[in-house]
């Protein structure tokens, strides 16, 4: 089940990028995204662990760039959510491989798929709402957000140094 959803997620992630870029007349990029999706699926089959994070990074960077060059937000959001799902499920299936045959694999699989599905759907929905609502943020809120980001980044750098 996890593998099927993983394949669907890769198709959604890479497919949304391909479609979005293709529809805007960037066919040369679209071909590369199609290739990315194929490699991601192939990597799963071959067991290359490092492809998944790299592919997610490419998908997110491409989605951000797509937004910058005014490609439809819907496709880019689909790509980001699809990429996130595929990356998560690839890691989950790897964790699941450690489970003993006597463990409740199907139960864990179902619970994980339900939760990650809800997170993806809710995240996507929130994104769409945020995009559609177009709330004009006052200056103070933006300053607050910047401070929050800086605090978060400081925490992240501290963690990175500890590691």
């Amino acid at each position: 089940m996890t593998n099927i959803i993983f394949i669907l997620s890769v198709i959604i992630g890479a497919g949304a990028l391909t479609w979005g870029y293709g529809a805007q007349g960037h066919a040369e990029y679209a071909r590369w995204f199609f290739l990315l999706g194929t490699i991601w699926l192939l990597a799963k089959w071959r067991g290359w662990k490092w492809i998944s994070p790299l592919a997610l990074l490419i998908v997110i960077a491409s989605a951000a760039y797509g937004l910058w060059i005014n490609i439809s937000f819907g496709w880019m959001m689909f790509a980001a959510v699809g990429g996130l799902l595929a990356w998560d499920l690839d890691d989950f299936s790897r964790r699941l491989s450690y489970a003993a045959p006597s463990d409740d694999i199907i139960g864990m699989e179902n619970r994980h798929l339900a939760r990650v599905g809800i997170v993806a759907a809710l995240g996507g929905l929130l994104g769409f709402i945020a995009f559609v609502a177009r709330i004009q943020l006052p200056f103070e809120v933006i300053v607050g957000l910047v401070i929050l980001t800086i605090l978060g980044l400081t925490r992240l750098i501290t963690t990175l140094r500890k590691d």
């Binding site: 489970a99 992240l156 990175l160």
Partner: protein, 428 residues
């Protein structure tokens, strides 16, 4: 942790990009990632409070026999959504069936049993801890603990039951046993004739001697049989045990030492063991089953090693062995070992050398070539000469061709010859 870090970097990068460019759509793009992280942290596992019990079905096993290991993990804390258990196998053991890892959901108060089968070669194996990592469903936040789950497993060397091993140390102990004590008394072997004294059984009267002396009765006296002190020295030096292509005679030496220790202890003797390798491992002499266990545990842990200090046998600490006791050296031997062994004999110890034959052993895996055969003949002659010198010095030698079973060789070479056969031999 890496997952969290990776996702955090993506989220912050999008957030920064959105704020820097004042693009709301970029900020909106980071929302699924932020939600993923937030939910992960919200559902982070609380304190991991697990109780582990390890059960090993046998604590002492023979080599390469499957041994079942069962771990019972009980959750004393809150529900754990995703718990990954990983039991580390001590090096040397091989997983036979089952799995040392498990991924499960463990509710509060629930228990889980992890069972697997291992097997391994001779050795002493210590199980220390079980690694448990609890994470939320999205594996964002995790807590890892090492739970104490101690266990010990000994894979003993194979012990061949030896029916009889005849030794003749100069000194014996006071307790009755199987070893002729060179002292007159009750026993089996004839010792001498002495004047009859009141209390001697009439059947002990030597009628021939009495017939020659009309005024005095004479009685037969037999040799007393007692237990003795035996020190087994296992040679674990690389230079004598290791051969080309990873072949080693050490396992045979260990098997011989284990079988001899078992036989001597079964005869009631006081047995000590010295493993002469990279360092000394001395098991103090003692009697009985407990001592058998101690010796087998030491043999299970014994490994060959190389050291410049203990390169020769001259460093055998003779002070550890009781005076005039029996020393049994188990070693493939080397030409340099001749002098120290003769010295041991000169110091009054009765020395028995059990020597797994390195020539026939090495020849068994070398290619059949003319040059190899010639070399084998030369080395065999040199070895025969060395063993003969040892025998001339009074050292008892048991040359063991390892292609034959040890008990057969001992039965042939170290058995007690019946008196009537000894007499026949002397008549011839």
């Amino acid at each position: 942790m890496r997952r969290t870090l990776f996702l955090s970097i993506i989220t912050y990068a999008l957030l920064l990009a959105g704020l820097a460019t004042l693009r709301g759509d970029l900020l909106a793009l980071c929302l699924p990632f932020a939600l993923y992280l937030a939910l992960g942290y919200l559902c982070a596992p609380e304190e991991v409070d697990l109780e582990v019990e390890r059960r090993i079905d046998v604590e002492r096993a023979a080599p390469n026999i499957p041994i079942i290991i069962t771990l019972t993990i009980t959750n004393r804390g809150a529900d754990l959504e995703e718990l990954f258990l990983d039991d580390t196998l001590p090096s040397g053991l091989t997983l036979h069936s089952g799995s040392t890892c498990s991924l499960l959901r463990l509710a509060k108060g629930a228990s889980h049993t992890l069972t697997y089968t291992v097997s391994g070669p001779r050795g002493g194996y210590v199980f220390e801890t079980l690694k448990a990592r609890a994470t939320d469903h999205l594996a964002v936040a995790s807590r890892e603990v090492r739970l104490e789950a101690k266990g010990q497993l000994f894979v003993y060397p194979p012990v061949t039951r030896l029916r009889q091993v005849v030794i003749r140390p100069r000194n014996t102990r006071v307790y009755a046993g199987n070893i002729p004590a060179r002292v007159g008394g009750s026993g089996i072997e004839f010792f001498g004739v002495r004047a009859y004294s009141v209390g001697d059984p009439p059947r002990s009267i030597n009628w021939r001697a009495t017939a020659r002396h009309v005024d005095q009765l004479y009685a037969n006296e037999f040799q007393q049989e007692r237990v003795a002190d035996v020190a087994i020295v296992l040679d674990g030096r690389w230079r004598t045990n290791e051969f080309s292509r990873g072949h080693s005679l050490f396992e045979y030496s260990v098997q011989a030492a284990a079988s001899l220790a078992d036989a001597f202890l079964a005869q009631g003797n006081r047995v000590g063991m010295l493993v002469y390798s990279i360092y000394f491992n001395w098991i103090l002499p003692a009697y009985g089953k407990v001592q058998r266990e101690k010796i087998l545990q030491a043999l299970a842990r014994a490994h060959p090693g190389g050291s410049d200090v203990f390169a020769g046998l001259q460093h055998i600490p003779t002070r550890l062995f009781p005076r005039h006791s029996q020393i049994v050296l188990v070693s493939p031997l080397n030409e340099d070992d001749l002098e120290p062994l003769i010295q041991l004999r000169a110091n009054g110890y009765q020395v028995l050398t059990v020597t797994p034959n390195p020539v026939s052993f090495e020849l068994s895996f070398l290619p059949k070539q003319k040059e190899v055969d010639l070399a084998a003949r030369v080395i065999r002659m040199e070895r025969a000469l060395m063993l003969r010198k040892l025998q001339r010095a009074g050292v008892q030698v048991l040359d063991w061709d390892v292609t034959h079973s040890f008990d057969q060789v001992v039965q042939r070479e170290l058995r007690r010859v019946p008196v009537w056969l000894q007499m026949q031999g002397s008549l011839k």
